[in-house]
Amino acid sequence: MTIEMDKYRDATVMRLSGEIDMYSSPGLRKELLSLVAERVSPLIVDFRGVSYIDSSGIATFVEGLKGMRSFGGRLKFVAVPEGIMEIFTFSKLDRVFEIYGSADEALSG
């Protein structure tokens, strides 16, 4: 997994690619929690390049979301590939995460 940080309009964008699993999710967790500590919001997570996510990756995002909410921040997912979306839906996390098609939609949503 690789993480690339970017800016888009007034949002911070985290572009993920590769595989998010028990090996790579601690790196993701560290990055997410440091953004929470800095109260970065809105934070857009771009899933375009993500080929795989397991329960440790999902747990990491649930934790990140709780952190964001603790200071009233917003966490938004964009460009979630179908296979990853299916795992979110199965986990009933599509109801908890804000998921948009694109960064523009995320910022007007």
Binding site: E19, D21, Y23, D54, S56, S91, K92
Partner: protein
């Protein structure tokens, strides 16, 4: 085609990707659909992650032995370790409506496999048997 492969990896999360590769290739070789292969990869990965977390308590020098085979109309996956014995009574996924980190792995394993059972007769370590009915 003889239809069994075994892979032995260290109990290190860095090797889970290799187990996923082997699972995916096994599925391709046996002409399973992409959707089924995606489920199997995730299910096997989650079961091996649990071995690292619970049987080996995070220690990375243990061994995990994963066997994939076709038995008639079933795909069977056997996962063996020499770690702490699991108490099947304590293995339970969380209610999915109660959103919190964790407790999802078991659901993902059971999404992929119809059978999830520990071999209780084993002397030490664990032997988990997963079965997916293919048709």
């Amino acid at each position: 085609m003889k239809d069994s492969v075994t892979i032995t990896i260290p109990s290190h999360p860095g090797y889970l990707s290799m187990v996923r590769d082997v699972t995916a290739r096994f599925g391709e070789i046996h002409n399973l659909s992409e959707a089924v292969i995606a489920d199997l990869k995730l299910g096997v990965d989650e079961a091996c992650s649990n071995v690292i977390k619970y049987a080996y308590r995070g220690a990375t020098e243990g061994e995990i032995v994963i066997t994939l085979r076709i038995m008639g109309k079933d795909l069977e996956v056997i996962i063996e370790d020499e770690g702490v014995r699991a108490d099947p009574a304590c293995i339970e996924g969380r209610n999915l409506d109660d959103v919190r980190p964790g407790g999802l792995g078991l659901h993902l394993i059971k999404r992929a496999f119809h059978v999830y059972e520990f071999d209780e007769g084993r002397r030490s370590g664990n032997r988990l048997r997963l079965v997916r009915h293919l048709r």
